[in-house]
């Protein structure tokens, strides 16, 4: 399988038994998603063969793969925003009686899935009104909702919090007991080791190793993925706190989604915002960036009260925003890497900027792209052809090149591999050390603890507590879930 300029997969052999959970690990662009798309009939392979239950098969359309009992949970969400949850879950295999759709049966079936996942929304909700994590659950239900004999999950837990992820793993074990062959692609090694029987590592489109879980360790897997020892996963804190000045401060801020927000962000620090699904931690980021502006309270930047009503206001006041929805908000997939990286700069550039100043900007963007190590055949390549991690790095480069004094990142490492994560953590730390403020909103608690100088916990639209660096994961999780009181400071 080749993409323009890049060989995505080279002579890879892979097998999964019935009743086995086989994890597939690898860095960005290692070829995991490509392998699965060939299996799912999305792409056709240039060479080699696919055997299902010993029979050679050829898939020219996703439908053909499904007829052989292969179901795939794709990493990128593919829901129809204007259709109900039930209609999405039954998409492509609607229940019909005498040619007429049986909406009641489909609703009841969908409702059963939602209950098994403990969802708090009904099957009649439009998929577009759900959060990304909720959409992910619908996506999973959609893939499970037919008797798949081979189930492929591409980063199924990327948008889920720990409790939801645990429920999903429970399902995986249940399906395994029923004799389903499961391919589980994940970057969360803890989940890989919780769920998998066998682990295969891909690197640069080649197969590195396949080993039983009992014969390997997480460190070994990481070594195989990266090809070297991964030291200093989280960057060290420099601790030059004495010269810190206020970068951003919110007093009694609120809007439809968030209430009573008091938040201070100083130069040189990384503050993480953690919270479960429904805590509105994303809404806080959107409020700061003016995408869902504050309607109450005051907002100060570097000690001056300002009003931020639109993202443009925010950019002008030196706030950068890395969205958690790369496909929907972050990137124009058909445009080149360079164009995408230039987008934010373009927005605030004077209409008739001189060619020279544009040239300088482009050079700076080029530098930023190299800095974050975006792997592409060239920066003129459409960004949609890159792997998820490289797309995320492109979004980051866009903002790093502008050097906003305040950078807000929402789920900056979702769906990307460990090496890219470590690279992004180091980039953010270096960025903060240069005297800027970084706010990271994340569902990944170890990540929040690992990179933050301070950690803020949100629940149901309010800030319910704050932890210093190095707090215990259990305490934070308990507070986020509402089982514990805020820590005494």
């Amino acid at each position: 399988m080749t993409f323009p300029g890049v060989v995505a997969l080279d002579d890879v052999s892979f097998s999964c038994e019935a009743g086995e959970v086989h994890a597939l690990c690898g860095e960005n662009g290692a070829g995991k998603s490509t392998l699965m798309k060939i299996l799912g009939g999305v792409y056709q392979s240039d060479a080699g063969q696919i055997l299902v239950e010993g029979q050679e098969v050829r898939f020219t359309h996703p439908l053909a793969a499904r007829q052989h009992g292969i179901s795939i949970i794709h990493q990128e969400l593919s829901l129809l925003p204007d259709r109900s949850v039930a209609e999405n879950i039954y998409l492509g295999r609607e229940i019909a009686r005498f040619g007429m759709l049986d909406h009641a049966a489909m609703n009841a079936g969908a409702e059963r899935w939602l209950q098994r996942f403990g969802c708090r929304f009904g099957a009649g909700r439009l998929a577009g009104t759900l959060s990304i994590a909720e959409q992910q659950i619908v996506e999973i239900a959609k893939a499970l909702n037919f008797d798949a004999r081979i189930l492929v999950m591409d980063e199924p837990t990327a948008a889920l919090d720990d409790a939801e992820a645990e429920r999903l793993l429970e399902f995986v074990r249940q399906l395994r007991a029923e004799g389903v062959a499961i391919v589980f692609i994940s970057h969360r090694l803890r989940q890989v080791f919780a769920a998998a029987d066998t682990v295969t590592v891909l690197k640069d489109g080649k197969l590195i190793a396949t080993s039983r879980k009992s014969e390997t360790t997480p460190d070994e897997i990481v070594r195989q993925m990266v090809g070297r020892e991964l030291k200093d996963y989280y960057p060290a804190r420099e601790g030059n706190g004495e010269s810190a000045a206020s970068a951003l401060s919110i007093r009694d801020g609120g809007n439809d989604a968030i209430k009573d927000i008091n938040l201070d962000l100083a130069t040189g620090e990384i503050v993480a915002v953690a919270g479960l699904e429904g805590s509105a931690k994303g809404a806080l980021a959107r409020a700061i960036f003016g995408a869902q502006p504050l309607t109450r309270g005051t907002l100060q930047i570097r000690g001056t009260a300002v009003s931020i009503q639109t993202p443009r206001d925010a950019i002008r006041h030196g706030i950068g925003y890395v969205s958690d929805d790369r496909k929907g908000e972050g990137l124009a997939l058909q445009q080149s890497v360079l164009e995408n990286a230039l987008l934010a700069a373009r927005g605030i550039e004077p209409l008739f900027a001189s060619t020279r100043s544009r040239r300088i900007r482009e050079l700076r963007i080029d530098g930023a792209l190299q800095n974050v190590e975006v792997r592409a055949a060239s920066y003129g390549q459409p960004v949609g052809l890159l792997s998820g991690g490289n797309q995320q790095k492109t979004v980051l480069a866009r903002w790093l090149a502008l050097r906003p004094p305040i950078l807000v990142c929402v789920e900056p490492t979702r769906g990307i591999d460990v090496a890219a994560k470590a690279a992004i953590y180091h980039l953010l730390r270096r960025y903060a050390d240069e005297g800027r403020a970084v706010l990271v909103v994340t569902s990944d608690l170890p990540e929040a603890i690992g990179i933050a100088d301070r950690l803020i916990v949100m629940r149901e639209g309010r800030i319910v507590g704050e932890f210093p660096a190095g707090a215990a994961e259990e305490d934070i999780a308990a507070l986020a879930a509402g089982h514990a009181a805020a820590p005494v400071e």
Binding site: P62, L79, L80, S84, T129, G482
Partner: protein, 330 residues
Amino acid sequence: MSASIPALTAPRERPGSRISLVPLLIIAGSLVAYAIAALVTGQMAQLSLDGLIGVLQRTVALGIVALGQTLVILVRSIDLSVAPLVSVGAVMASWIMQGDPARMIGACLFVLALSACVGVLNGVIITRLMVNPLIATLGVGLVLQGILSASFANFAGSVPEEFQVFAYGTVGPLTFSIILMFALAVLAWLMLGHTRLGAHIYATGGNQEGARLAGIKTGRVTVIVHVLCSVAAGLTGLYLASRLRAGAPWVGRDGVYDLESIAAVVIGGTVLAGGRGGVWGTIAGVILFGCLDAIFTMSGVNAYIKQVLRGAIVVAAVAAYAYRTKGQVA
């Protein structure tokens, strides 16, 4: 968020039976404006049942075309070849019939089959050759119009008396053609809300890649929908031949069925981006246009002002929908 509160608090709505009030509001508003115009100009006859049926009658041609256009726009395509195809249908019908009742059925079948072929052509150009639908159907439309204009200068042939029953025949107070339009609307509504094809139409328009990943043959759905749209246009050609007693190569162009059908669909709340909308909105849009025509005829105002108003209404409608949608998201 303990495990004890998994209450389903979301409003319970039943998919497939989501009925929007917007079409009803549009129709009610149109009728009120129509009634006011009739009262102000003192043309009480327009308020009678016959007057209202007359208004409906004038919406039939646009209505049938717009129903087809609705389906096409729902899959995020568009069809600009409908106006020439209406002309082709009308001309071929009267040319083949030549006033002979024995040729009626053959002529109708030929026109519908020819229209279906045009639909397949549109669909295949769009899905196989990957030509943007706007360009594909514009091109096909130009070809059709060119061949037709080169072959026929004016009214060609004529339809027999018996065929005029299609346009003028009545059941009680209603004409066959009005009943046909509403019957087609009901069929399209059932198809969209209650069949697999309908679900796949919404899926293809809403998220083509997502639909493909769910195992839907999106190319086939697009072709089917273009065939349905083209057959609707051919049917409209038959209706016009019946109404005008003969077909001429300009009937489609004069009716501006391509752009007006798109306008009616959009006024009805079906979005050009695909995946959202339905037939009742389109019917409401068509009735709105019909009332507007009648109002201007009654008041005797310059017909060009009507164009201005129509344009303004289309833009205002889309802006209103966009505003509503934004409100829901925020």
